[in-house]
């Protein structure tokens, strides 16, 4: 009976799982970033093979197919270049690239219709119909959108602190947290040429970072739950994510809702606020938010979904029992 290899290739880490056609996970491996867009083709391939080698181990069992879950921009890559390299691992069939959004969705469900909302470094929502991406909203990157993402949160924190320092914005406990994070210690009342000295230092230190590194300030917003400015940023984050999800809802498609990404899955503050914004998910089938038939499933990454896709795309049946087998046997391997 055929075995499969499923890989979740992210920007900073890669996960691979080796599994049977009935969803029993036999081996698991990880490595560094496996995204060809950010790592380059050779670096990404190296990461994919490293994780895959760990997963397959000494088995070298024939692999009926390899499923590679990657960010959207990778979908046009020449898959035969991947395929050739996987022959050494025992691949007899095809290497197929699938969207990381689909992998995130299928990490929370085995059903073929439903919705995913992901807020990690970026932010994106998708409607899945018949096992395919039917609509995608946001995921437009840090400059054009990704509203409600980790970058967005960190950026809003930095802007709120800059505004608080010169009196444009409300004073906030975030100021000390950001200044401390950047190692800025100056007399808060000191000014040079009219400008608050701490703000001048903030400017210097911030522009030394790459813009995307502002996401480092995102966790600070959850560190001061009593702070009004932090609360407003979280509320706007949740409102934006709810709006992104609403943009992909089609009342004709109902199914599970999957939440992914650290902003939605860690701490629970933003996830709960998004559900409040949506006015209680699953309220009624007539209501647009009635499209979500379950409480959101929280997924940490896309490796379960890559495994589900490996089976489904190769004609294997994935029902509740098989899905449960994948998740529980993988959890054992991950320890």
């Amino acid at each position: 009976m055929p075995n499969y290899l499923a890989i979740d290739a992210g920007g900073t880490s890669t996960r691979a799982v080796f599994l049977t056609h009935f969803g029993q996970c036999l081996g698991y491996g990880t490595s560094g970033g496996g995204n060809p867009v950010s790592r380059g083709f050779d670096g990404a391939l190296e990461a994919l093979l490293a994780a895959s080698n760990s997963a397959v181990g000494d088995a070298r069992a024939p692999l009926a197919a390899v499923t590679l879950a990657m960010a959207g921009a990778s979908l046009d890559l020449p898959t035969h270049l991947f395929q050739e390299r996987f022959v050494t691992l025992g691949l007899t069939g095809q290497a197929v690239i699938e969207s990381d959004l689909l992998a995130a969705f299928y990490s929370g469900t085995y059903q073929d219709d439903g919705y995913a909302l992901i807020a990690g470094t970026g932010a994106v929502a998708a409607r899945i119909a018949g096992g395919r991406l039917a609509a995608v909203a946001d995921g437009t990157g840090w400059l054009l959108g990704d509203t409600g993402s980790g970058f967005w949160l960190g950026h809003e924190v930095a802007r709120a602190v800059a505004a608080a320092l010169d009196g444009r914005g409300t004073p906030t406990a975030l100021t000390n947290l950001v200044l401390e994070d950047l190692g800025i210690t100056v007399d808060p009342d000191s000014r040079t040429q009219g400008r608050v000295s701490a703000q001048q230092q903030l400017i210097v230190k911030t522009y030394e970072l790459r813009p995307i590194e502002l996401s480092r300030f995102a966790p600070l917003v959850f560190a001061v739950p009593e702070d009004a400015v932090a609360q407003q940023i979280i509320a706007r984050c949740a409102a934006a994510l709810a709006q992104t999800l609403r943009a992909v809802v089609d009342p004709a498609i109902s199914g599970p809702l999957v939440f992914g990404g650290s902003v939605l899955t860690k701490g629970g503050t933003v996830g709960a606020a998004v559900l409040t914004q949506l006015g209680q998910a699953g309220e009624s089938a007539g209501h647009p938010d009635g499209a979500f038939k379950t409480e959101p499933a929280l997924v940490a990454d896309g490796v379960v979904g890559a495994a589900v896709l490996a089976l489904k795309r190769n004609g294997e049946m994935v029902d509740a029992t098989v899905f449960e087998r994948i998740t529980s046997s993988l959890a054992s391997l991950r320890g």
Copy 2:
């Protein structure tokens, strides 16, 4: 009697004026960007000397002093390096760097107390007291602030269009203007992997630009006055600029209000909206907005102010008559 050279060194262009101690402008010259931070020291110096040579012409009259108006970050530069080079132009005294914010303020008034609000590529407000910068708000750059600037406007336009394309945002006439500007012509209903194709193209084209180049979209917001999304962006721009100005107001300091930068001085839409936000400038002395004693003076650049500073800092008297002499004689030279 002493003559002076005053230079307004901007990021993209430099203006120099040669004038007498009683404010009669004798020569005027321009050149390219004269900011040492963006151009490098040698490139900036070359631009400064080119504009100065044009201004001084064949006169080579003794120059009692040179005043260089430059962006804040230039204030710590070693002025003796400038000074040495200006000796060839007849400089006998000092070369002194002054803040471009002060030069903008003094381009609209000869008084020593008051306020300036500038919104060009960046956005910044200042309170001037006793001829010095007493408080500065914003001017924190495109990533941390500059809220209401030309970059901010262009960025908001791009984000609004990205959101409109996938249904997160309200449909807007800005969409076609932006897509046209970027040469994007695709079937508006076409999707690939769930994503609207026009949005995918927008992402590709936008990330090919340097972030700051998004300011190219700023003028579009004024091209569709009936559009609700454009109106909201303009309203938020004006609200932010009013807030930036409020942050520097000290009820104890009242005086003229000077508006600079293309966002505030071209078209008039934003300037008028800022004044509305402030609740009629000059309403009453008790009201914080009563700090502004005049309707705003609109200034195109800082060269008049550099001239005013050249005289004032060297003990020359600048009253209404001298100020009027500077502006009218300079206007004649500029033709």
